[in-house]
Symmetry: C2
Subunit: 452 residues, 2 copies
């Protein structure tokens, strides 16, 4: 089958595809606010069925955000698993949207809606690709399965339970991940990895209540103890001080480093846009790039203690907390990092600091650059987009890719319909029709070539 | 004149004294909320005049809380200056008051009202002592002056300006300070000093806005920089790390140490009441007592950065702040401490941290234990209360005593009408009538003896 006939079949069905994506985006499905989740799961299952994919709504105990599973048989014995999610970020602040977030609006070849880039446009592209393949060749070249998650935007807390409970459903030979698209140069991005994450709450409590600060002579101050606890985790040189933390890090391979250095350098743009004069530890050029993709992080996201009103109140706070997110790279394990943090505090004389984990931890996942599936995806992408693929060994961000790369053991690659100004998680989230069409063609061609 | 005739004159006028204190307390005068200040200043001046004290309302530019000055001639060439304040703490939370805070209520020999202990009861006692002295002996034994401040509860920001502008008015030979009373044993407390204070705002800013925390690889996190800045000021061993900070501290004299050790040990009670198992740096017994009275403090009163809502938001905060109060002891100067903090941060590679001073700094003030005025006050107090005085070289808390001890150069001692359960700054603030009567007699006897 020639790419051109598939491309034509996709283009002819653009209105159907737009209708499908519009229906998906019109249904709010904000997991963080528990809005529209059940309705969205039902709609997703219905749209799978309408596209000739048998759908099941899967549930596990304690989770109100079901996984929508889909399966459609193909000619070859090979199976491709699609990982996507039907939940979206909150749309607030509403007043910064040019058109209402849940009323999809097409303007100048750009479709605006909450979730259209992350990740309902991709769901639409995958289904449209199946329809086009069937119209051109009468069948699917390979078996396809769908794993449509309903709590990606809240950290996928039950993904392990779904995979364990329904493990036999998810047998496959490779996985297409939710995210990808084109970079500023128009080259197709192929994402092969995601960092892991462990989120911690650190709490210091020193007295029964806040006191007049003249007692600071003898009564321990919770804010100070928190400050020292945090200092025991990372020093002013930005180096982790957690014993064993860096030991676990599996350094990137020479190929991974080379792949990242071949990507367009986004650091100058980031520095300008973020108004940052000096990067962490003075990192410049390729050093900054290497840090960004391959270094674990210890980030303070929240810090609170004492009197937060106007002016000064001379109070000795009896309670203080910090919330941290630690992004891990391959070789690090959430449970080990938790234990290392505990040990670091104990050794620093801060055994009184309470450390609790916020949500389940998630290890990093990465598909080796040398895997034949990576070459296949890159080659198909170059053919579809006309530019060499921007093969990205890992995102700096986190996603539950580990469950697919390591638990299911699948080579996994992210391709999609996004472009650099698609404003994920922000007002005026959007995708361009040209990216929607190319992203659909990419899936169709990939399934064709995967069957070979 | 015998003490007994003065005592009798005071007791006979108790109803007048209660009426006076009730009038003073019925007028709200919350400096932090700017409520009733001008009316209170007028009332205070009126009450001074009614007690035979010529009153003037003093003003300085930029200050809406006037000082009420009073003066009444006496027989001897000596002059006693009374420092008191007519402003009070906010009365919130109102619902924790048994009777409304600005409707003085007498129950079982205890008078309840906001400000009755801190410090309107003392104003009443001083005026009642003058009336009793005049009734018994026809005149005042010494000249008395009043400095009634209207912003003590907000840190006395203009006290220096008042003393400079009206310096000739405040010439005196000694000063009676606002606070004192009895301890749990019923012994009279004589306070000879107060710590100083400098309040600081530390701010870290690292980017134009909060970012997705995956950028923690390269973008500096304001919360981390604040944590390191704070760690550069005090270490987990509770020792100041500010270069030069401890050098300035003038250690207590052997007499001051002995005086503090002679006081009832309040540390076991504090530990129990505050729910504290271990004091700072494991201090026990007399070591804790010494720290409490004589050590400077570096206290974090406020700490804030990043996302303060429920759950976790993986954000990289671009701004963070802490508010600190540093209580200083004699030998330390606010401007030097400010410079030391700046230098400590610069030397720690944290020159980007912005340090600003919140309000004017206040040095510590202390009257030497060996000053003859201290012996006089102690002797009179023992005679009035029937127990040896609890001579307290300094409070652990702060007050503008420095302006009287060091700027005006007056021996200064705090005596008053408080008792340990008088709930200053809290709901159900109160004084006992017996303490009001004895506090009045104390002033009367002291003025008598001061004339000799």
């Amino acid at each position: 089958m020639a790419t051109s006939s598939l491309e034509q079949a996709i283009a002819e069905r653009l209105d159907d595809l737009l209708d499908l994506v519009t229906r998906l985006c019109r249904q709010p499905s904000v997991s963080a606010q528990n809005v529209g989740i059940e309705a969205m799961a039902g709609l997703a299952a219905q749209e799978l069925e309408a596209a000739g994919v048998s759908a099941r709504v899967l549930r596990v105990p304690g989770c109100d955000h079901p996984v929508v599973y889909g399966e459609a048989r193909g000619d070859s014995p090979k199976t491709m698993l699609f990982y996507d999610h039907y939940d979206v970020q909150p749309a607030e602040p509403f007043d910064l949207w040019t058109s209402p977030p849940f009323e999809p609006s097409l303007r100048d070849g750009v479709l605006y809606a909450r979730g259209v880039a992350d990740n309902k446009g991709n769901i639409g592209a995958r289904l449209a690709a199946l329809r086009a393949l069937r119209s051109v060749r009468g069948s699917l070249p390979v078996t396809v399965k769908f794993f449509l998650e309903g709590e990606e935007e809240v950290g996928s807390p039950h993904i392990a339970a779904y995979l364990e409970t329904y493990q036999e459903l998810f047998r496959a030979d490779a996985c297409i991940w939710e995210g990808g698209g084109v970079n500023w140069q128009g080259a197709p991005i192929v994402i092969l990895g995601a960092k892991g994450m462990v989120s911690l709450l650190l709490e210091a409590s020193t007295a029964a209540r806040d006191l007049h600060s003249s007692w600071a002579t003898v009564v321990p101050n919770a804010a100070w103890r928190l400050v020292w606890a945090l200092s025991a985790l990372k020093g002013a040189d930005e180096r982790p001080r957690i014993p064993g933390f860096a030991d676990g890090v599996r350094p990137p391979t020479a190929e991974e480093r080379a792949a990242v250095l071949a990507l367009p350098d986004e650091m100058p743009l980031a520095r300008r846009e973020f108004g940052v004069t000096t990067f962490v530890a003075g990192a410049e050029g390729s050093e900054a790039t290497m840090r960004h993709y391959f270094a674990p992080t210890i980030n303070i996201a929240s810090l609170e203690s004492g009197y937060l009103g106007e002016g000064l109140k001379t109070v000795l706070p009896h309670h203080a907390y910090a919330k941290l997110d630690l992004r891990m790279v391959p070789g690090q394990r959430p449970e080990e990092v938790m234990a290392q943090v505990r040990r670091a505090l104990d050794e620093a004389g801060l055994a009184d600091i309470i450390v609790s984990q916020l949500g389940p931890g998630l290890p990093a996942g990465r598909t080796p650059l040398g895997h034949p599936f990576v070459a296949l995806v890159s080659t198909v992408a170059q053919a579809v987009y006309g530019l060499p693929s921007a093969v990205t060994p890992t995102m700096a961000a986190t996603g539950p890719m580990y469950y697919f790369t390591d638990v299911l053991g699948l080579p996994t690659a992210g391709v999609g319909v996004e472009h650099p100004d698609c404003r994920m998680h922000a007002p005026d989230e959007n995708i361009r029709l040209e990216d929607l069409l190319r992203g659909t063609l990419m899936i169709g061609c990939l399934l064709e070539r995967f069957a070979e």
